[in-house]
């Protein structure tokens, strides 16, 4: 058998966004992977220092579409800490609602693409149809299908009417059984199991070594979820079970995501049942932001998202730095792809739910 170096990407049908892998193969087996990034680098960390605190809320939402809600949330959390603002209870619940709606849609998208890569097109369409119900929720409550524009400094800008709540409840009642059905398929279907069980294994030790976060870490036995470990918004008042699986293969990562979809639906129901009354934002005016620095952390669909903000006497921040969950998970691909077959590369890459526009900013 001969040794080759094959390129995968930057533009490849199996990748949703451009990333370039140089894969050394020995026959059909992957020996080494080199990752070349930077195709969608836009310099947003520079741009945020040229805009004021409130404009940045809009800009950070546009870093990425699938976790577009988590960016302004973590950013707003950091600014609120600097300004000493407390989000009112209803606002905190609203933040959780926006967060979990996005999580359901994001996880279903990834799990759906897995079915597509496996070649199980009817399942792909079934999953996307279920996701579409959540897209309808976003559109009717927030007016947008991807960027919700939910956050302001000090709370949220949207509120629920009884009609909204009833609609969300009805949609959850439709989505929950559909998700249960999909989960059973991923658990038992031979086609799915054959292509995902034991593929792209990331051992617990390697997962810790690479500092992986989110479902990738939890599928390798790391019990870490920001919602539980460093509670924010209303998560300290809600029941948030954390699913951890030991095997670290593609299947485990998909199962963790599917379980988290069910958990998210449950959290949404808890929110609707216990939604406090009152204002959704602590101020209707733009608060003045003093000098200071702070860190905001939240659990984006892909894992821990961390924002660092430094304010000086200018209305523009001196520095905003954020690290998205995908940034940490790329390195784990080297371990997952070790000794993998060429035909499994796309499935393994998809299993970390990579977000390239997030990673490169």
């Amino acid at each position: 058998m001969s040794n080759f170096t094959i390129p995968v990407g930057p533009l490849n049908v199996a990748l949703e966004e451009p990333m370039y892998f140089k894969v050394d193969v020995h026959g059909e087996t992957v020996a080494n992977v080199d990752i070349h990034a930077g195709h969608v680098h836009r310099g947003i960390e520079y741009l945020v220092t040229k805009r004021n605190v409130f404009q940045n809320l809009v800009l950070t939402e546009r870093i990425c579409s699938l976790c577009s809600n988590s960016h302004p949330q973590a950013y707003a959390m950091a600014i609120e800490q600097i300004a000493g603002l407390t989000v009112p209870p209803r606002g905190e619940y609203m933040r959780v609602i926006a967060d979990e709606i996005k999580r359901v849609a994001s996880h279903l998208f990834n799990v759906g693409v897995l079915a597509h890569l496996v070649g199980f097109e009817s399942l792909f369409m079934q999953v996307m149809e279920v996701r579409e119900m959540m897209q309808d929720v976003k559109e009717s409550i927030f007016g947008n299908r991807m960027d919700l524009g939910a956050h302001v400094i000090g709370g949220v800008r949207f509120d629920f009417t009884d009609e909204n709540a009833a609609y969300l409840k009805a949609q959850l009642d439709r989505i929950a059984p559909a998700v249960a059905e999909i989960t059973q398929l991923y658990r038992n279907n031979g086609t799915i199991l054959g292509r995902t069980r034991g593929i792209g294994v990331l051992s617990n030790a390697d997962a810790i070594d690479c500092s992986t976060v989110g479902p990738v870490a939890r599928a390798s036995g790391i019990n870490y979820d920001v919602r539980v470990k460093a509670p924010y918004a209303a998560y300290d008042r809600l029941e948030v079970p954390v699913y951890v699986l030991p095997d670290g293969d593609v299947w485990s990562r998909a199962m963790v995501r599917l379980q988290e979809v069910s958990t998210a639906i449950d959290i949404l129901r808890q929110c609707l049942d216990t939604l406090p009354t009152g204002p959704t934002s602590c101020t209707s005016e733009r608060p003045s932001i003093p000098v200071g620095e702070a860190i905001g952390k939240c659990e984006a669909p892909r894992g821990e998202l961390i924002y660092y903000v430094r304010m000086t006497d200018s209305p523009k921040p001196e520095r905003v730095k954020w690290r998205v969950p995908s940034f940490m998970n790329w390195d784990a691909l080297r371990f997952m792809m070790k000794d993998a077959k060429i035909s499994d590369i796309a499935i393994i890459v998809n299993s970390i739910d990579p977000c390239i526009s997030c990673t490169e900013r």
Binding site: D209, S211, E318, D331
Partner: protein
């Protein structure tokens, strides 16, 4: 409930002989956020090893050049006083501040070092594998030198672009290769001139 060891401040002080300045705050949801400024950047590796030994995860690294504080001009006969950071490094607007954000089971601890312009800092890749990418990004954004990095290639920015992009102003038209604005018009006019 904070998971940081109670004696973390004294343990950090013990491995940083040049001195530390430690502050800590716990929010209403019991999440603790601590900051530890190191007087000497050479204490970074020993303090980071301590973090590793208590099970911390390196979350990310922030690098910036803090703006120099505005000071009134010196009176006649007096020499200007240059403000300094903790540890005595001049706050001249060019000094690098590097913040290493660690996560300890939900709590955050940030190690802060100051590196004079043109100076270097030790790589943490020997302790934390995940320091690789953040340090590569650090090197392409600023002219700071990271000593002992195993793979100091560019991460996101093309090698054809000059180093230290965040240290200088790049006009938007240059950034987008004259794809828009005045730069494009000037490019067209120049090309037209060449053809005639």
């Amino acid at each position: 409930m904070s998971v940081l060891p109670d004696n973390i401040e004294s343990r950090l002080a013990a491995v940083a002989p040049s001195g530390i300045r430690f502050t800590s705050a716990t929010n209403a949801k019991s999440v603790c956020c601590s900051w530890c400024k190191l007087a000497n950047k050479d204490d970074l590796l020993s303090t980071a090893s301590l973090m590793k030994s208590i099970g911390a995860r390196l979350s990310t690294i922030t690098i910036l050049q803090p703006k120099a504080p505005s000071t009134p001009p010196p009176k006649e006969g007096e020499t200007a006083v240059v403000p300094t950071f903790f540890g005595g490094i001049a706050s001249d607007g060019k000094t690098f501040e590097i913040d290493y954000h660690f996560d300890i089971d939900g709590d955050t601890l940030t190690l802060v070092v100051y590196v004079p312009y043109g100076g270097d800092v030790q790589s943490l890749t020997t302790l934390f594998r995940c320091a690789d990418w953040p340090e590569r990004e650090m090197m392409e954004l600023y002219s700071v030198i990271v000593r002992g990095h195993p793979d100091p290639r560019r991460l996101f920015i093309d090698p054809g672009i000059d180093n230290a992009v965040l240290e200088r102003l790049i006009p938007f038209s240059t950034l987008v290769n004259s794809a828009t604005t005045k730069g494009l018009w000037e490019k067209i006019l120049t090309n037209k001139g060449n053809q005639q």
